[in-house]
């Protein structure tokens, strides 16, 4: 057989790793590990996208068709039948912009929560920072978000609306939504590995949460004495911000952003804490 040529090994001193009991690990090391292994997250996200569309007949068009069909149905039901007012914005544009954001967020929550169970075969055989796994859906779902965003812009042009240049701020909103979903995923993914009920119940609660979020109706449709409640809903703030940017809807108040920031920070911290506490046990149990 042919002897494969070998490079001389890099100086081993470069990468000393000390393996020790889990309790001695520091958060900062774990986060640094995530950063140095970010290639893996990208690879996993790309694989996710490849797999999702590989076997479907219409491939990537499915990413467009789904929100478009939903928009059509919602427009029929909530605009034509229920006549929900949308502050002068054409209902399809209104609901599509909300759906985009909601679908991104809910996809991240559901998929991040299932990420440990789904990748069981890998995590018991190969080492890489497990914190990466719930992060993958934030990337793969962003691709679908961007595809659908193109459709939204096309729809707006068809209605004679021009997107505001503030659209460049969208990545920031996506980042906040991704972090929110990631935080929830960090809490739920180890729980899901222990109690499979979590994975069963989650889609139901996500469905309900959509109706508590101004996706299909504007906050102004809600009786004034309850409107303050929406400031507590971080996804409502994100959706309203998205509409403010794209279709010049009113901006949420400063309080809403303070609450959003609190949610992002709180959930990420809670998530990191839960995940780091439960994850080692899960690798041994799975």
């Amino acid at each position: 057989m042919t002897v494969a040529p070998m490079d001389t090994p890099a100086s081993p001193q470069q990468t000393e790793v000390v393996i020790r009991a889990r309790a001695d690990h520091h958060l900062i090391h774990d986060i640094a590990d995530v950063w140095t292994n970010r290639d893996i997250a990208w690879t996993l996200a790309l694989r996710e996208i490849q797999i999702r569309y590989k076997q479907s007949l219409i491939g990537i068009a499915w990413a467009l068709l789904q929100p478009v069909l939903t928009t059509a149905i919602f427009t029929f039901v909530f605009s034509y039948l229920a006549r929900i007012p949308t502050d002068g914005i054409p209902y399809p544009i209104f609901v599509f912009s909300g759906l985009l954001m909601w679908q991104y967020f809910s996809r991240v929550v559901v998929e991040a929560s299932g990420s440990l169970v789904k990748n069981e075969a890998i995590i018991t055989k190969v080492f890489f920072p497990r914190l990466l796994l719930p992060l993958v859906p934030t990337l793969s779902a962003a691709v679908e978000f961007l595809i659908a965003l193109v459709v939204l812009v096309a729809m707006m042009l068809a209605y004679g609306m021009v997107p505001s240049p503030l659209i460049v701020l969208l990545p920031l909103i996506l980042l906040a939504a991704g972090l929110l979903g990631y935080g929830i995923g960090l809490v739920l993914s180890p729980l899901n590995a222990i109690y499979r009920d979590v994975g069963i119940a989650l889609p139901f609660f996500v469905q309900i949460a959509m109706y508590l979020t101004p996706v299909i109706y504007p906050v102004t449709f809600v009786p004034p004495q309850y409107q303050w409640l929406y400031a507590l809903n971080p996804v409502a703030t994100l959706i309203d911000t998205m509409r403010a940017i794209i279709i010049a809807a009113p901006w949420p108040g400063l309080l809403s952003y303070a609450v959003l920031a609190a949610w992002v920070i709180g959930l990420t911290a809670l998530g990191l804490g839960t995940f780091r506490k439960l994850e080692p046990a899960i690798v041994d149990r799975i």
Partner: protein, 430 residues
């Protein structure tokens, strides 16, 4: 000091759920359990039992120098795989530390992370990334990986259509081309055809020869002997032996233990072996005087295999025999009571029978052997098959090879017959 791996007092504790509960539970079960515990005080001991744990690895310390090839051997459950999992950071230790100076490439299960829907090409990139390679590094090695795996023609079809052999070749190929400073390999040689095993061994030798460090778990002592310069023998989670006398330790590992040889298998003391047709009483290797051989015996003296059975039912199909197996696990020969012409068979009678056959002098080479008892109804099935679970004894041949002044030490081969040489011209016409 050039230790590339320093393991210090490493331990790994696993929780045992006493009831053999599944790895995951439902929330309902957990809640019900909690409620039950709340309302009954009795099963405190049961809880303790459930919380029982065991140490898969304990007090393990060793250093590995750069470029060493270390074989890790031990029975199932000795902690080999746990050790590799800790060293490749898949699971965290419960105590102690391990310092690793270099990138670890681990191949703990072949085909890890392959996705059935993706093509071979896509899986190479994914697998490489998961094992720690950057995209450009994979690209640089891609052709080499494909060539070594020999699946070049199938690169663009989904992995799910690959045979398991192809999958494995591809996985090994990716891992072997990682070029990590430390390569950790668990039992890949247990699967795959002989050709591929040879290729894997060759590749691991290359890796070792290029100065990289290899940790290699295997039950295949031949491979360990060929590849390793050092052996760690794990037993019940601890290091039983850490030695560079690879051949010697592999031999002892195969024989089961050090010390005196086990020359007799007595069913009253070992485990019984009964059937409708017979009960085995003892199985022994004895010398010319009839006493059990528990010491090495020279090759110029006969060793006799002796079987004592109580026969309950007679059948012309009933036969007994033994198999001689060498240190590498190769069967050297079998011998059966019905090997000769029918009228020369030993006649069996109901009740106690003593059957014996002599292993002639100058047949086996020097070395340790296992002699396995077996019995069958000819053409109908085994009562006891030759193999690791059957009744067996040990036999060691040492010295007595030949009176020749030129033949003093062990020659290669399993047999060491002393043939007679003649001089003559009978075949001159050739």
């Amino acid at each position: 000091m050039s230790a590339i791996i320093t393991v210090d007092n490493l331990g790994k504790q696993y929780a045992l759920s006493g009831t053999g509960a599944p790895a995951y539970a439902t929330l309902r079960e957990s809640l019900a359990d909690a409620a039950r515990r709340l309302f009954s005080r009795a099963p405190a001991t049961e809880q303790k039992e459930a919380a029982r744990s065991f140490w898969a690895l304990r007090n393990v310390s060793f250093d590995v120098a750069e470029g060493e090839v270390v074989g890790i051997v031990g029975r199932n459950g000795a902690g080999k795989s746990t050790l590799l999992k800790v060293l490749s950071r898949i699971t965290a230790p419960s105590e102690g530390t391990a310092r690793i100076r270099g990138r670890v490439g681990s191949l703990l299960e072949v085909g890890t992370g392959f996705h059935p829907e993706l093509s071979g090409r896509e899986n190479i990139y994914f697998n490489g990334a998961i094992l720690g390679l950057r995209k450009h590094e994979i690209r640089a090695r891609f052709d080499e990986i494909v060539e070594f795996s020999g699946v070049g023609d199938f690169l663009d079809i989904p992995i799910k259509r690959y045979s398991s052999g192809m999958k494995m070749r591809l996985a090994f190929s990716v891992a072997a081309h990682l070029e990590p400073e430390i390569m950790v390999v668990d039992e890949v040689l247990a699967v795959g055809d002989a050709d591929f095993q040879k290729k894997c061994l060759g590749k691991m030798k290359d890796v070792a020869n290029s100065g990289r460090t290899v940790l290699f778990v295997s039950h295949n002592m031949n491979a360990v002997m060929q590849l390793c310069s050092r052996v760690l023998w794990l037993e019940r989670g601890s290091i039983r032996e850490d030695t560079r006398a690879v051949h010697e330790v592999c031999g002892r590992y195969l024989l089961g233990s050090g010390g005196a040889l086990k020359g007799a298998y007595i069913t009253a003391e070992d485990s019984p072996l009964d059937s409708e047709y017979f009960s085995l009483r003892s199985f022994r290797v004895v010398d010319a005087e009839g006493s059990t051989l528990d010491q090495p015996t020279p090759n110029d003296r006969p060793a006799t295999v002796e079987i004592e059975v109580d026969i309950h039912r007679l059948s012309p199909l009933l036969n007994f025999g033994f198999a001689v197996i060498d240190e590498q696990g190769q069967q050297v020969f079998w011998s059966v009571t019905t090997d000769r012409a029918e009228h020369e068979w030993p006649s069996l009678s109901l009740g106690r029978n003593k059957l014996y056959a002599q292993i002639p002098p100058h047949l086996l080479n020097e070395g340790k052997y296992r002699v396995d008892f077996f019995a069958s109804l000819h053409g109908q099935g085994w009562f006891s098959e030759p193999g690791s679970t059957s009744a067996h004894v040990q036999l060691q041949i040492a010295g007595g090879l030949s009176p020749s002044p030129y033949w003093r030490s062990r020659r290669p081969g399993s047999a060491a017959p002393v043939l007679t040489w003649h001089a003559g011209s009978t075949r001159e016409s050739d």
